[in-house]
């Protein structure tokens, strides 16, 4: 994995999970990005564990219908973060995102390492924010959650900020 050359070929991550779900997350990302940036390319940075690199997202301006569907900024930020995080873990981390798993307080994404079997299942916990200064605190909080037990490890935490485009990813191996 090398984040030094991180370019997402558009915000249409080719994950194996439901296209309807991915479409929703992608729209939310467009809406969240549009709050702070002009389309169609936004540059930022990605940090994967201790390695850093540039990040470039290509995206489309949201339509009025998409803006209306994602009018709740808090939900749009969280869902948009899913789309960006899926792109990051797939293109930079080599994972395949295959769906969500629910729990009482929300849902996490499930992924497999490239070529891995179901026994190699990895959890992805995602957080989105529109305040980039929140990123370190949120990442630590996500890592604390991952450290909780055998269902959460191995796990990956990703925090996405939209005001200043930044993706921070940390792994908690088995």
């Amino acid at each position: 994995m090398d984040p030094s050359e991180s370019i997402f070929a558009g915000l249409h991550p080719a994950a194996s999970c439901s296209p309807a779900v991915l479409g929703c997350f992608t729209e939310a990302a467009f809406v969240s990005l549009a709050r702070f940036h002009s389309p169609s390319t936004t540059r930022g940075e990605i940090r994967w564990s201790t390695e850093e690199g540039p990040l470039e997202l290509e995206w489309a301006p949201p339509t009025p219908a998409q803006l209306a569907s994602h009018a709740n900024q808090i939900d749009a930020t969280e869902q948009g973060a899913y789309a960006v995080a899926i792109g990051a873990v797939q293109e930079v981390g080599g994972y395949e995102v295959i769906g969500r798993a629910h729990h009482a307080s929300g849902a996490d994404l499930l992924m497999l390492p490239d070529g891995g079997s179901e026994d190699d299942l990895v959890r992805l916990e995602v957080s989105g924010t529109c305040d980039h200064s929140e990123v370190p605190r949120r990442l630590q909080s996500k890592m604390d959650q991952l450290g909780r037990g055998d269902l959460h490890r191995p796990g990956v935490a990703a925090v996405v900020s939209f005001d200043r485009l930044r993706v921070c990813v940390a792994e908690d191996p088995e």
């Binding site: 194996s16 999970c17 439901s18 309807a20 779900v21 929703c24 709740n72 808090i74 939900d75 930020t77 969280e78 295959i98 769906g99 969500r100 798993a101 629910h102 729990h103 009482a104 307080s105 929300g106 849902a107 499930l110 497999l112 179901e118 026994d119 299942l121 959890r123 957080s127 909080s141 909780r148 037990g149 055998d150 269902l151 959460h152």
Partner: protein, 397 residues
């Protein structure tokens, strides 16, 4: 085909997503129906996972149970948990624990829902207490009682602020406001010390202009204020322009912040899918910072500071007062109505520091007015002597 890529899971995901969208539009019945459909499909897949794949089986078991829980069908969620737990094998240790925790949550919420009715929304708030005096399932009763009272006060003030109510000077909220929201306290989870509250919307109030309060928004607001208090008191000022509410809320968070003696950290959060995740953690340094913010916000001319044991409180008098005693000397302070109602109760019989002002009362008697009071750590007699009549820098008027 792998069970993870099973089409039923993809369909379940779509249904769950539509359910979440319906829920955010407050279409609760539609959300419940969609969650239930999603749960049924997820359950089918989960039950087919071989027991040899304990981790995957556990994750999907919790997922199917959580979807039933989100649909509000606690009986079905309970059955789902029993189905997996009764088979013993095929679950990891954390998987069994998470199923049991969710089961316990279902039981609590089912009971509360019976009391408040299916049309009332219910949202949890958790307060985790950590420190040297706290261990698995045990915490000092004084600590938990005080925290519970302060959190209830802070929630009530937040609710009144949201409802646009004039600042309440005395006593408990009136019946109309009590009808707008309800706070329940549930037992802590086994093996933790987490105080659990549930906030529920009230029945339709009888007074015009008072609408039922949305518990999700109330909890979200409360946590936003807690995070602001954690980070910077100026952020609280930005959220709460009205000075009396701001002072009351800052004081609640200051007094609930641990002093480091037996509790080192207190975390507030809500483990509900209905809110975006966000929590706040208060530590002893926050207590100091919030005190500075409270004092800075008050205009204190002719300042005075006294320490002593809080022996008597009278909040019902026209001019509320309280008395502290030190080395046989008695100091009676008056206070503005409503200033300390939320926080002074837990301080009785404890050593406190009072910051205030002194002035000439009728017949030339010295009048002491309290601006702030907080519990302090018991110190040496030298420290206590040093703290006597320490002057607090006066603010420009």
């Amino acid at each position: 085909m792998s069970l993870l890529r099973d089409r039923r899971r993809a369909r379940s995901e779509e249904l769950a997503l539509h359910a979440e969208q319906a829920s955010s539009r407050e279409q609760r019945d539609e959300a419940a129906r969609l969650f239930a459909e999603a749960a049924a499909l997820e359950s089918q897949v989960a039950r087919e996972v071989p027991t040899a794949q304990a981790r995957l089986r556990s994750i999907l078991a919790i997922s199917s149970m959580a979807l039933w829980y989100k649909s509000g069908d606690f009986d079905q969620a309970e059955s789902e948990a029993y189905w997996f737990l009764s088979r013993g094998e095929g679950l990891t240790a954390e998987g069994k624990r998470d199923l049991c925790d969710l089961l316990e949550r279902c039981w609590r919420e089912r009971e509360i829902q019976k009391r408040i009715g299916r049309n009332s929304e219910l949202v949890p708030l958790e307060v985790r207490v950590e420190g040297s005096a706290v261990s698995h399932g045990l915490a000092p009763v004084q600590t938990t009682r005080d925290v519970s009272q302060l959190i209830t006060s802070a929630l009530t003030r937040t609710a009144e602020l949201r409802l646009g109510a004039p600042f309440r000077d005395r006593g408990l909220p009136g019946p109309a406001f009590q009808a707008a929201f309800r706070i329940f306290e549930a037992p802590a989870f086994a093996g933790s010390y987490v105080l659990r509250f549930y906030l529920a919307s009230g029945p339709q109030p009888t007074l015009p202009g008072i609408r039922p309060l949305d518990p999700s928004s109330l909890v979200a607001n409360f946590l936003e204020l807690a995070r602001a208090a954690e980070r910077d008191a100026a952020r609280v000022a930005a959220l709460v322009p009205e000075s009396r509410y701001r002072e009351a809320i800052l004081r609640c968070f200051r007094d609930v912040a641990p002093d480091g003696r037996s509790v080192s950290q207190l975390s507030l959060g809500s483990s509900t899918w209905k809110l975006a995740k966000g929590s706040a953690t208060l530590r002893p340094e926050h207590r100091v910072r919030l005190t500075e913010a409270i004092i800075a916000d008050l205009s204190i001319d002719h300042p005075i500071e006294e320490t002593g044991t809080l022996m008597a409180v009278n909040l019902k008098a026209k001019r509320p007062s309280f008395t502290i005693v030190r080395d046989g000397d008695t100091f009676t302070f008056h206070a503005r109505p409503g200033r300390f109602d939320d926080t002074i109760g837990p301080m009785l019989k404890q050593t406190v520091r009072v910051t205030g002002r002194t002035s000439q009362g009728p017949q030339g008697r010295r009048d002491l007015e309290a601006k702030d009071i907080q519990v302090i750590e018991a110190g040496s007699s030298k420290q206590k002597a040093a703290a006597r009549r320490r002057r607090v820098p006066a603010r420009d008027k």
